[in-house]
Symmetry: C2
Subunit: 405 residues, 2 copies
């Protein structure tokens, strides 16, 4: 398995990104991916009970197992727009289906941006012909830019693996920098591959890989109405169809996971106002559920996140969050490490000089390790600090967007 130096596109896919006027200043806001051959797809969606219209529609289209195109707009979430929202999502898929001469239910539709504001559907319909004309085998980078909202950089990654002697490419793009929580975020991710793989295996592998990547990151603990991870495999690499539990399939699973983890890390690093990238590991929990309770409580604690921002090795706030996480905890067994340095051992302060701890948490990226010393379960998340910039960035979204008196 090797990370590609250049951004390779799997065979049989094309992509594009254009400015349709949903965003101001001629910014890219509409993206399209198509496959020239039939695909199998798998997707994971937000578990939020308030779901955007395109999420509802794409779930329905996905069930017909014949997706050929993905259209995504940024700048507007098309969420909480009632029946009109659903009709607009339908129009969005129809507009692109007409251009491609396929059926609307072969189009997977996504939106991201502000909630509760009508989708500028006319912009999208008018732009559909140009969007299709712009499709290129080298269009992945433009696509990845067209799906950005508050992202400061586009996030792409690509790897190549061997399956049955054939070179297979797995390429992904993701967006999202606020509302990032375990169990998905205001986050969209699209992964395309030319591997031949059957739909059932792809679904299992995707669920597993999403759990270890996009469901294991946290910036601010908010989970959005639009979160979607979508994987599309078109078999254009002509590898022999891998059997269940074969080495080829295992290889593919590791490759897909690597792409997703790389994208997930990029999401955290580019989180709104993020200055620290923290790997938070919890070990020694009595159950996997308990380990997840601890990573959730610690990674979402405002006080812990403020300390990270200040490069302050404040382990007291960490053990406090461990205590209210709901997990089984015995105070006198809890160890906390910043990097390799113990901050607390057996629930009390360790002998590590404070300067050494300070140097560790002053790094741009470091690991916090919590050992509950009660059992064998563990969990790991990627998280970040909470900065004044996060607050100033998020104070005024609605007022800036909605004009009037």
């Amino acid at each position: 398995m090797r990370r590609a130096k250049t951004l390779n596109m799997p065979k049989g896919f094309r992509a594009s990104g254009i400015a349709s006027g949903i965003k101001d200043n001629n910014k890219l806001d509409l993206g399209l991916i198509i496959s020239e051959c039939p695909t199998v797809c798998a997707a994971a969606f937000t578990t939020n009970k308030i779901q955007a219209a395109p999420v509802k529609l794409s779930k329905k289209h996905l069930r017909r197992s014949n997706i050929k195109a993905v259209i995504v707009n940024s700048g507007n979430a098309n969420a909480c727009n009632g029946e009109k929202g659903y009709e607009d999502a339908l129009l969005m898929s129809k507009s692109i289906a007409d251009e491609l001469n396929i059926k609307p239910w072969q189009v997977f539709t996504c939106s991201t941006g502000i909630i509760g504001y009508p989708l500028p559907i006319n912009n999208i319909c008018s732009a559909a012909p140009t969007l299709v004309k712009s499709l290129k085998t080298t269009g992945w980078s433009r696509f990845s830019k067209a799906i950005m909202t508050s992202d400061s950089v586009n996030k792409v990654t690509s790897i190549q693996i061997k399956m049955g002697g054939k070179k297979v490419t797995i390429t992904g793009a993701a967006k999202g920098s606020g509302m990032i929580a375990p169990n998905m975020a205001t986050m969209l991710a699209f992964i395309v591959t030319d591997a031949a793989v059957n739909e059932k295996d792809l679904k299992v592998i995707t669920k597993d890989a999403v759990d270890d990547s996009f469901n294991s990151i946290s910036v601010d603990g908010d989970m959005s109405t639009n979160d979607t991870v979508m994987v599309m495999a078109n078999g254009a690499a002509h590898n022999p169809m891998p059997k269940s539990k074969s080495d080829d399939l295992l290889n593919f699973r590791e490759g897909l996971k690597e792409v997703m983890i790389d994208l997930a890390k990029k999401l955290v690093k580019d989180g709104e106002g993020v200055t620290k990238f923290v790997t938070l590991e919890v070990n020694g929990a009595v159950s996997s559920k308990d380990a997840r309770k601890v990573t959730k409580a610690v990674s979402e604690s405002s006080l812990v996140k403020c300390s990270l921002n200040g490069s302050d090795p404040n382990w007291g706030r960490i053990i406090d969050a461990v205590g209210y996480s709901g997990a089984k905890v015995e105070e006198e067994r809890v160890d906390i490490f910043f990097g390799e340095s113990a901050a607390a051992l057996g629930g009390v302060v360790a002998s590590t000089p404070i300067g050494k701890l300070k140097r560790e948490v002053s790094k741009k990226a470091f690991t916090i390790r919590i050992n509950l010393n009660l059992g064998k379960a563990s969990h790991r998340v990627f998280t970040s600090d909470l900065s004044e910039e996060y607050v100033s960035y998020n104070r005024l979204e609605y007022a800036l967007k909605i004009q009037g008196n």
Copy 2:
């Protein structure tokens, strides 16, 4: 029932507050309350599994039903200090018991401040004689100042009611401004009354009043290791002992609740970096548990809190948090109001002009009302915004306290 203009002290109580050197710059950091007659007590403690030594000790002392004094230090939480912490808490109660010529188990002990840093027990023991000598019937205000940590003002309140023809006074003091979460906060509250009331009734009434006050506030969602609410009644008003379900007892219950709610509101208003005081009401939930899930998710959402800070009527972030709260929700039934103005009706934007919504959320204090329109259960919390000042205030606690390299 009337709110006292001056801060009345119930009969038979004295209080004091002094500087013992735990805090720098001669700031008050040690407080004492004593009752001259026997008392009945009730208390509520943090549900955090990591509990400070004084919490463990006070729970034990409370079970012997003969508390005569309360000693509180600020500047150090005496949490996560292992066996030494417990010994220090014991020494703290012993030092004051010796001076008052009572037993150590008649002393209720509390600490608040930094976690995981040894309690300066020598300061406390040396200061005990002065602390006792300073006791005054007018000492409540100094006591309330001695328990402050990051509070910008001391929080006190006092009311007088009639019970069986006698004037009864209920007076409270509270501290806390960060780590404020439902189910208690880095929060200490002490309420003293000269009412005669039996211990069993006092316990029931206290639990109920705490639920509607201190357990219904949220600043940052962090719950501390030291939270304690303590109520002491000494019967010095000589009212006849009220019977269960009597008007007198009902009257007392309302009085105690009023004192606690007033203190709880003061805690939120003085929260770290708080610029907005928001009453968040959820109605129409299918169960009380569901209503609480929604108040928790909305009041703890960083994105919602940033919007409040910016006076931004961003109802999309509110409905998003409603959706991931875990409560039963039907998108097309959700109504959201800022003050009396509808922002969303039936899950979509309402026709209220944006300027009207902006004016409402620009107020220093206002109400957000969410109606799920599914059932009859409701819940109300007092909450706040998230500001850049909160972050800057909380970045560096540990590094500032712990010197060295």
